[in-house]
């Protein structure tokens, strides 16, 4: 039974003012207009259409970006096919590897520029793009580069070959990193790709296209086309695609699974989640509270593996809640480019409305809401770090993915109870366990039906570490040795 938490209020008054420490945007060069990256060149769209990408922290336009129509998609797929049948398919694997190494190195060289543009276009704190997104993207290319000429060691007693042309659709929450997760293993296994970044965050993918051009990667091996859902649908439905890799919502994932039903296209899906973060009474509470904060407020909660459901053992519920509320009060919400910022801008107006809708649902369903008292900027899309207590297992805020800085808290007494509750969702992407007892960690982590389980930590990522879900969180893995499987037959 969840307890009322109205009497638990933040005890700390957070009055420390940090001087602004904004990252300079002058280190980034952004064109006014971007075309489609097809066959090694930036091409004007046959659709003749462009759309704006805006800075969600200011609502100001950054650049206009080409919208690929069906004819553009076809052009990109043809370029990828020609590259696959031509130079790329025939290239010795060790040479292929060197191109991928080259991409990794050049991302490292341009890391600062990528970080700035990632924060400008997507709203994430510069601290995160600088320290997490961009380095991980570079490392991902570096890791998979080395696999290219060693694939026989990854698949014992099996001779693998590439699939051909991969169509890849990525989300807006980790734009460059997701591009790396898709492109790096595909190229290492000898495929060529057509990648579509999300319509609200196309810029770092287009900067990656420039970088790929500068790396002298043979034309057509990587094609990057921008657009929204219709462009994605044209890519999914293109008859000359051998494989679709999609990261995004479960809703769209199901549409794609249905759309490819009458084809032999291989499919991997990395979809939504509603992760349980479980705190036992013997957990190191201060560390756990940091883990909860990182679990749900990292990247404004725009994380498919976010620890959006918190399960606290009853005996430590008050203590955890008190510390959590104290900690939330210290989170700095605001300008994504400020190096002090903890929580940046919500990625789009549409997403902000979705989050607000769920907050209203939570209240209506009888849960108790608490939010940070921080001031929000006048312009832009922002949301205070929020939590709900007294949440029922059946509540929509406990069952559905919100994809925002909103935490649903429940309590439990026994191991069996919390396992039952934690596994009781259609999702199965990730989970967290906090306890000082080693044997309990393994008991719980093995019983959680989720693809990634963090014990006494949360939201950690690494190129060597496979990532992906059980159940309706999708199938296939990205990262590590297991990530190769998605791009070979």
């Amino acid at each position: 039974m969840a307890k009322s938490s109205k009497n638990i209020q933040p005890t700390l008054k957070f009055n420390i003012k940090y001087a602004p420490a904004p990252e300079s945007v002058s280190a980034a060069s952004i064109n006014e207009q971007y075309n489609l990256f097809i066959n090694g060149k930036f091409e004007k769209p046959l659709s003749k259409k462009y759309f704006d990408t805006i800075n969600p922290a200011t609502e100001k336009k950054i650049a206009s970006v080409a919208e690929a129509g069906a004819a553009d998609v076809d052009k990109a797929v043809k370029a990828a096919r020609a590259a696959y049948n031509g130079h790329w398919g025939k290239m010795p694997a060790k040479e292929r590897a060197k191109y991928i190494f080259r991409i990794a190195r050049m991302i490292q060289e341009r890391a600062r520029e990528f970080a700035i543009i990632e924060s400008l276009d997507g709203g994430k704190p510069i601290r995160e793009s600088r320290d997490i997104d961009i380095p991980l993207a570079a490392n991902h290319f570096f890791y998979y580069a080395g696999w290219a000429d060693k694939l026989n060691y990854a698949f014992p007693n099996r001779n693998v070959s590439p699939l051909g042309v991969a169509g890849q659709i990525i989300p807006w929450n980790f734009p460059l990193l997701m591009a790396a997760w898709k492109i790096a293993p595909a190229l290492a296994c000898g495929n060529t790709v057509v990648l579509k970044p999300a319509e609200t965050t196309p810029l770092t993918a287009l900067k990656l296209a420039e970088l790929i051009q500068d790396c002298d990667l043979p034309p057509g091996v990587v094609n990057i086309i921008t657009g929204a859902g219709e462009t994605g649908a044209a890519l999914v439905n293109h008859p000359d695609i051998d494989k679709i890799a999609f990261t995004g919502s479960t809703e769209v994932g199901k549409i794609i699974q249905r759309a490819t039903a009458n084809t032999n296209k291989k499919l991997t899906l990395e979809l939504g989640g509603k992760a349980a973060n479980i705190i036992f009474e013997d957990a190191p509470i201060d560390q756990a509270v940091e883990g909860i904060i990182n679990g749900i407020y990292f990247n404004q909660g725009h994380v498919c593996c976010a620890g959006s459901r918190l399960f606290v053992q009853e005996s430590v519920y008050k203590e955890v809640l008190q510390k959590l509320k104290d900690r939330i009060a210290t989170l700095i919400v605001g300008n994504p480019l400020d190096k002090n910022t903890d929580v940046g801008a919500i990625n789009s107006k549409q997403q902000l409305q979705t989050i607000q809708k769920y907050i209203a649902i939570g209240k209506k369903e009888g849960a108790e809401m608490f939010e940070s008292s921080c001031a929000l900027p006048n312009k832009g899309f922002f949301c205070r770090p929020t939590l709900f207590t007294n949440v029922a297992q059946s509540s929509r805020i406990a069952q559905e993915e919100i994809f925002g800085p909103v935490l649903a808290i429940q309590t439990f007494r026994t191991d069996d109870e919390v396992i039952e509750k934690a596994n009781n969702t259609p999702y199965g992407l990730s989970a967290g366990v906090w306890t000082n007892k080693g044997s309990r960690i393994f008991n719980i982590t093995t019983r959680l039906r989720a693809g990634v389980v963090w014990a006494n930590t949360y939201n950690k990522f690494d190129p060597v570490s496979p990532f992906g879900g059980y159940k309706e969180s999708g199938f296939g893995r990205e990262g590590g040795l297991h990530g190769l499987n998605a791009y070979v037959k």
């Binding site: 490392n139 199901k254 899906l269 693809g451 389980v453 690494d462 309706e472 199938f475």
Partner: protein
């Protein structure tokens, strides 16, 4: 001297460790090449399938929670029981119209295949797991885990070997399953169920139905509590139906074509991993000591 009248066998379904008749009360006739009736088989219904999924789901935590070594012994026990009922299995194949030599070969191959997968139960995890050398101070490892309840539409190519080859890798990996036996060659499937039943396989781990693919396929594919569907040589149209319905709960769809069932190419640990998930676990490593630790 009066000629003894044979006692004919009634073939029923196998659900949750019991042999019920179909709840629908329907049957279909299986005849031999001469058109003589061999048996009236249960024509399983949607409800039978749903009951079987309930049985498979409730058996899942027990079966997947058994030690791999224990599962290995149980699969080996199935092989032992098959060997002891060799004559019965051969006779049944003959009844279905097999030539004697083919019947012998198929039963031998089916027993050997079960032994093959019995051996894999506690080894595929080692082959397909990894310790991942992450850059931060964490111990990070990935292991295969069973996907859950698997619906199998068995091959129509043979009576026994294709059925055994379909079930063995699924249960070797800790999944539970509901199997639709070959429509016109179903006798061996039910006799195999009897073997399963006497081999220490917990009730509900293997459930076997007889019936029509055309009727049951859509229910196999759209059931919300089935995690994966494994099919053999379905038509393009049937596969489209399977994939469309599977999207309802993001079911894993595993599609196999015709195989040379008696050959070694029809067995592989990759058939086990086709119905496995990969779980990655992160553990922090204490960093108070002066030396760097990690993997």
């Amino acid at each position: 001297m009066t000629e003894r009248i044979d006692v004919l066998k009634t073939y029923k379904l196998y659900i949750g460790g019991q042999f019920p008749r179909t709840e629908s009360g329907r049957y279909y006739a299986v005849k031999n090449a001469n058109g003589k009736l061999i048996a009236n088989m249960c024509l399983a219904s949607r409800k039978d399938f749903r009951d079987a999924v309930v049985a498979a789901r409730s058996a899942f935590s027990g079966w997947s929670g058994k030690s791999a070594f224990n599962r290995s012994q149980i699969l080996y026990r199935i092989a032992e029981m098959m060997e002891s009922r060799r004559t019965q299995l051969i006779d049944e194949l003959l009844l279905l119209g097999y030539k004697s030599v083919d019947a012998n070969n198929e039963v031998s191959a089916a027993i050997d295949r079960m032994v093959y997968y019995a051996g894999w139960c506690d080894k595929y995890q080692q082959v397909f797991s990894s310790v991942n050398p992450v850059a931060s101070p964490h111990f990070n490892f990935s292991v295969p885990e069973p996907t859950g309840v698997v619906a199998i539409v068995a091959s129509q190519q043979s009576a026994l070997i294709s059925l055994v080859s379909a079930i063995a890798p699924v249960i070797a990996g800790g999944n539970t399953c509901v199997v639709l036996a070959a429509e016109q060659l179903p006798l061996s499937a039910i006799s195999f169920a009897e073997i399963i039943h006497s081999s220490d396989v917990p009730a509900g781990v293997v459930n076997i139905l007889t019936g029509k693919v055309s009727e049951l396929l859509k229910y196999f594919a759209d059931h919300m509590d089935v995690n994966a569907i494994v099919t053999y040589q379905l038509t393009n149209q049937e596969m489209q139906l399977v994939k469309e319905k599977s999207a309802l709960n993001v079911k894993r769809v595993v599609e196999y074509n015709a195989m040379n069932w008696l050959e070694d190419t029809a067995q592989s640990p990759y058939f086990i991993t086709d119905v496995q998930e990969v779980k990655t676990t992160w553990h922090p490593i204490e960093t108070v000591a002066a030396g760097k630790s990690g993997y």
